[in-house]
């Protein structure tokens, strides 16, 4: 038997290439192409009165200067609203190049195409735009007040409004012996992949086709939207996603204005045009996430069991809503977390502001939900004087599947399909030393140190549908080519999908070659987001490999004169089960699968010994068959899987400076069976680092005029190695009944509860209620002062 590759810590097959400078990221694709640069609005809210481009036209090397008027046909219309939802009451999207108005600092207005980026930027600097200023709306509070309006024709700033209810909230809260209210605040952050966005568009005037390389998370989606906007037949547009330098959500929106404008320019100029985003552009014009103002009312009994939970929150969606309401919708559907709550009501308002739009960021909307629920759990424990872990234990869902009674982002009813929260909590408590912490605290106190411990539980709907596909072909050399429409941005798809396929086909791992995100082979795909890659494409490829295997056994069966049922594939050889003497290489089966038998390689010559005499009364290819050892298959799940986990943090806060240090960080994580534990761990580490960034450092500092004050890595503090703790992990593998491999997604697990676990630990160290994140030392220092003043006052 070949050893099963599923579950093994296989080192990554993409590494050698990436490590030796042979990666191919979008900006590497066409270094010499002419380049676009954009003039962006310096104002958050204004009418455009006039644009004077004459200064730019004189610059040597400038090829074209485009404003909105130069966009052709559909490309000049509003950008699409990708995911409509019934809760959206006022859908507003922008244009590829602003038409008459700008709604945030950074909105593109003019595109300059020149011989190179240096010249394009020179020219862009010489373009003059006249504005009539309007009052900007910045932040949730200003937006809620509604005294200033972002979009003309609206009477308030509400983009979407939704209420969902489970059970009877009035009796749930009304009958509760204890009721608490919490006001909470979660700040804006951003994905900040190390590679910004980019696009290279090549127009082939010979056959009227467009080939686009983009750092997108959805090549098929981008292809379809470009075809629609450029009014081209779908077959004349292909999108290739090469190596992508991280995405974390921000590259899921499509088309970005620049992708569309650059593609139009390539066609008009009949050449190749590229645009590579610089870091400042990424800060001010790519999407952000996270900002919400939240209100919670919870009713519970003397044991800490929740009887009713009523939640309202206000979500800042920025200037436009191109990606719909996935973020607030995810927040609203994840609040109940791993708990059985008999009565629940959630109401949200998604609000326009004159700031960069909000689209999903790793943990999309769920990090905010965890903040509400887990801060509530801690508040209940504090109110009753109970252990925080114990309160959670008493509220856990214990029977699976557990229907949640809420409509999720995929439109299906949410249901926790599997898990074992009690065991997870046990594992976490022993990993972090929960029960021994009090003695550690005492010891630290005696050394003049102040420490605290915190925890946060979460669930995450992962592996959303509707489908994902696979395509597998076995060459006559025995090489196995695998395609999935999914894009890859560091998730090790080339390794984990090869593991899955190699297992099913019984071939050595190094014969399997995976290609991702190329619409030329697999035009049907959804994209890489929401922890769905392994669940969706993993299962699709598993099913595809099964189909290829069946075909291989059928063909080999005829040659070996054996029932396909009695055959197996071991190390690339088809053989009678347990008897290697009657066998043939898979490579030869591939040759036999194609009646066109030019003997141009060794396997073709070798295969002749297995070829049967052809039957004169039958065509070479029988009805219903296709030549080649090649199949395509799709996987479409009933609903999303639900992964879960618990994080704990131990922090130390400096009594003088209020500096916050994470001493330990522990994660117990259940994503079902792990295809490659090395990769899962890596995902968790990276996710925690982003969570720590969001907890302590990262925050988009807008002033009241809508200027982003910290649009550089010097001012927006992303953690370096010196700020990130060593992460300790443990796993529980409860398989999902919803897919053949039983797997659940893992991509966002590290990020979702991190800020909340750290908030819990800081609260424990300080004895001050933490109601907003992120938290920096200076804010904590002021909170201490206020707290001391309050205490003195009430004495």
């Amino acid at each position: 038997m070949t050893t099963r590759l599923f579950g093994q810590k296989i080192t990554r097959r993409e590494d050698p290439r990436l490590l030796t400078g042979h990666g191919r990221y979008v900006d590497d694709v066409s270094g010499s192409a002419i380049a676009a640069a954009f003039v962006r609005s310096p104002h958050a809210h204004a009418d455009i009165i006039d644009i004077d481009v004459s200064g730019a036209l004189d610059v040597d090397g400038v090829i074209a200067v485009w404003t909105h008027e130069d966009l052709p046909g559909e490309a000049a219309q509003r950008l699409p609203m990708l995911i409509p939802h019934p809760s959206i009451v006022a859908p507003h999207t922008g244009y590829a190049l602003a038409k008459d108005h700008v709604n945030f600092v950074g909105e593109p207005i003019v595109m300059v195409v020149a011989e190179n980026r240096y010249i394009a930027e020179d020219a862009a600097n010489r373009i003059e735009v006249d504005y009539r200023f309007c009052d900007p709306v910045v932040g949730v509070e200003a937006s809620r007040a509604g005294t200033r309006i972002v979009h003309e024709g609206m009477t308030d700033n509400v983009a979407a409004h939704l209420v969902q209810e489970v059970g009877d909230i009035d009796s749930g809260l009304g009958g509760a012996p204890h009721v608490l209210e919490l006001d909470l605040e979660f700040e804006r952050s951003a994905c900040m992949p190390m590679e910004g966005k980019g696009v290279v568009a090549r127009w082939d005037s010979g056959d009227g086709s467009l080939e686009v390389h983009s750092s997108t998370q959805t090549s098929t989606g981008l292809r379809a939207v470009l075809a629609a906007k450029l009014e081209l037949p779908l077959t004349k547009v292909e999108v290739i996603t090469p190596d992508v330098g991280g995405a974390f959500g921000v590259k899921i929106n499509h088309p970005w204005p620049e992708e569309l404008a650059v593609a139009c320019a390539a066609r008009a100029l009949e050449t190749t045009v590229k645009w590579t985003e610089d870091r400042r552009e990424h800060f001010i014009s790519s999407a952000h996430e996270r900002a919400q103002t939240q209100w919670v009312r919870v009713g519970f009994d003397d044991e800490g069991r929740i009887l009713g939970l009523d939640v309202k929150f206000w979500h800042d969606n920025g200037a436009y809503l191109p990606y719909g309401v996935i973020v607030p919708l995810n927040t609203s559907t994840h609040i109940m977390g791993p708990y059985a709550i008999p009565a629940f009501r959630v109401e949200y308002w998604s609000l326009y502001t004159n700031t960069v739009m909000v689209t999903p960021y790793r943990g999309a909307g769920r990090a905010h939900a965890v903040f509400m629920m887990e801060r509530t759990m801690d508040a209940i424990a504090a109110e009753l004087g109970l252990d925080r872990a114990e309160v959670r234990l008493r509220n856990f869902v214990r029977e699976f599947p557990h229907p949640m009674g809420l409509r999720m982002q995929d439109g299906a009813e949410g249901c926790i399909d599997s898990g074992d929260f009690v065991t997870s909590l046990d594992k976490l408590k022993s990993l972090v030393g929960w029960d021994e912490f009090e003695s550690y605290r005492e010891q630290a106190r005696s050394e003049g140190r102040q420490v605290g411990i915190g925890l946060a539980c979460y669930i995450e709907s992962t592996g959303a549908g509707p489908y994902e596909g696979g395509h597998i072909e076995i060459e006559s050399s025995g090489r196995v080519n695998v395609w999935t429409g999914l894009t890859s941005h560091g998730q090790a798809h080339a390794t984990v999908f090869a593991q899955i396929v190699a297992d099913e086909l019984g071939v050595p791992l190094d014969t399997v070659h995976v290609t991702t995100g190329d619409t030329r082979k697999l035009p049907y795909s959804v994209g890489t987001w929401g922890s769905r890659g392994a669940v969706m494409a993993g299962n699709a490829l598993h099913l595809t490999a099964k189909k290829v295997r069946e075909k291989a056994l059928r063909i080999a069966g005829e040659s070996l004169e054996a029932d396909p049922e009695d055959l197996e594939i071991v190390e690339g050889m088809v053989q009678v089960k347990g008897d290697a003497s009657a066998s043939m290489p898979l490579a030869a089966v591939s040759v036999l699968s194609n009646p066109l038998r030019y003997a141009f390689d060794e396997s073709a010559r070798a295969a002749t010994q297995f070829a049967k005499e052809s039957d004169e009364d039958e065509p070479s290819i029988r009805p219903g068959e296709q030549p080649g050892l090649e199949e395509q298959e799709f996987f479409s799940p009933l609903r999303s899987t639900v992964a879960n986990g618990i994080h704990a943090a131990i922090v130390e806060t400096d009594p003088e400076t209020a500096d916050i240090r994470i001493l330990r960080y522990c994660v117990v994580h259940d994503c079902g069976p792990m295809v490659n534990p090395l990769v899962v761990e890596g995902q968790v580490h990276g996710g925690v680092a982003q969570g720590v960034g969001g907890a302590l450092y990262e925050k988009m500092a807008y002033d009241t005029d809508g200027q982003l004050l910290n649009a550089s890595f010097m001012d927006f503090l992303m953690p370096f190695a010196s700020e990130i703790p060593h992460v300790e992990t443990d796993h529980l593998e409860t398989p999902s009944p919803l897919n053949p491999l039983g797997i659940k997604g893992a991509g966002e697990a590290g990020t979702i509860p991190a800020a909340t676990a750290i908030a819990s630990a800081i609260e424990d160290a300080e004895g001050i209620a933490i109601r907003s994140m992120p938290l920096d030392p200076s804010t904590l220092w002021h909170m201490r002062a206020d707290h001391a003043a309050d205490a003195a006052h009430s004495r």
Binding site: L18, R24, M192, E681, M714
Partner: protein
């Protein structure tokens, strides 16, 4: 108002990159990172911020790590530049630091990685036996958004081990 711009000033520079001498005519304001990537097609060097913070563009100048986005190519005139391709450009036979990253799962998207490789390659010559804390310190001038750094820190120590083994052979 029309006003014509002079053609931008260029200079001829002599630059040794990964052991090969290049004589190039480049605009005076062109960054070293852009000359490496565009003129010499050494696209292993990446640009993540263009303002000197992220370290993705790190190359070695006469063996010392520098940010190639903060230097004009003209300033590198007469110097020896080593990019990630110069550390090792054969995927079949990665150099010790590169192998260490494979062993430790020290990369995900790989975009920040060349900057880490050039930094660590120079560092372990200086400190052949880094402790975990020293290893962390050594890479804390480079940003990575994917890995959470833990495995990169391990890769520093593993790279030092591999180099020591290589030296003793």
């Amino acid at each position: 108002m029309t006003e014509s711009l002079d053609t931008e000033p260029t200079s001829t520079i002599r630059l040794t990159v990964n052991g090969t001498l290049h004589v190039l005519e480049v605009p005076d304001r062109k960054l070293l990172s852009d000359v490496l990537r565009q003129d010499l097609e050494l696209t292993g060097t990446h640009v993540g911020c263009e303002h000197g913070v992220c370290g993705a563009c790190t190359v070695q100048l006469d063996g010392e790590p520098v940010r190639s986005c903060l230097m004009f190519a003209g300033s590198a005139q007469g110097h020896e530049v080593t990019t990630v391709e110069g550390i090792g450009d054969d995927p079949e036979h990665p150099a010790d630091v590169q192998q260490a990253f494979i062993d430790c799962h020290g990369l995900q998207c790989g975009f920040c990685t060349p900057g880490f490789i050039t930094t660590i390659d120079a560092y372990i010559d200086e400190n052949p036996h880094p402790s975990e804390e020293e290893a962390r310190e050594a890479v804390s001038g480079n940003l990575c958004r994917c890995t959470g750094y833990q495995n990169i820190v391990s890769a520093v120590q593993r790279a030092a081990e591999l180099r020591a083994e290589g030296a003793s052979q």
